[in-house]
Symmetry: C2
Subunit: 131 residues, 2 copies
Amino acid sequence: MLHRPDPFDAKCPTRQVLDRIGDRWAVLILISLEQRTMRFNELRRRIEAISQKMLSQTLKSLERDGLVNRKVFATVPVTVEYSLTPLGRTLSQTVHALTLWAETHIGEVAQAQQRYDQGEAAPETATTPPR
Amino acid sequence: MLHRPDPFDAKCPTRQVLDRIGDRWAVLILISLEQRTMRFNELRRRIEAISQKMLSQTLKSLERDGLVNRKVFATVPVTVEYSLTPLGRTLSQTVHALTLWAETHIGEVAQAQQRYDQGEAAPETATTPPR
DNA sequence: CCTTCCAGTATCTAATGGGAACCAACATCC
DNA sequence: GGATGTTGGTTCCCATTAGATACTGGAAGG
């Protein structure tokens, strides 16, 4: 690697990874599987309001990225188990920090939103130029 | 608060925060402003391929969430400076861990993708039932 | 016999993102 | 003095996407 990866370059592969994280369903699947291995419809019930389409789609790309294992059992009807790979586990831990942030600071965010919404009519104070 | 916030509940406010992080442009703006205060078009040049529409839209919601400060200077033409709030700085640090993950593990992800793409025709080994 | 369950796929529509044009008021270039 | 570029946006239109719904097909339960 000649230069350090730059997520601001749209062609940089780190951007792809960032886009994967920038997928709410992927995040919710990762933190679900962090707790334990789950089957398709288990995940569906766990993650409220996700459609079957988005679940299978997101799982497929997570599997492609080597973050999730898909294991098929030849039962009738067929059983499919999803679990995190070691790589996926390192990511889910990082992502876990984000959910922790959300739980910790949700109150401050809500307050800020209230202030913003009621203060919309406030006049903009003209400030002196910066230079 | 009676119960612990549950990001799997679509109505839970932590889910809103998670959705905000699940916005690639928001992430890129946060890590840009982590380095220094920037003006509108500075950000636009920094973050390749972002449209003016998405930039102003994302900045607006980041401001509403109390993560970003917007400061207007009465110059001609008007000058607008964007910076992180203290709250925004705590988030950007958490998000920074994600970009670090991306930079560190991008190689493994790329390898997994290659394996997946070429091994698509491989037959699925029938496994014994789990129970 | 009808419904439910398993793990998805196919199809249609509603929401969203991106591209380009446009704004006003000035500064600079030729 | 007319064209161009700069500031920070907004508005419109279209393409992509997400979400809702329906369907598969065999087996078990009532």
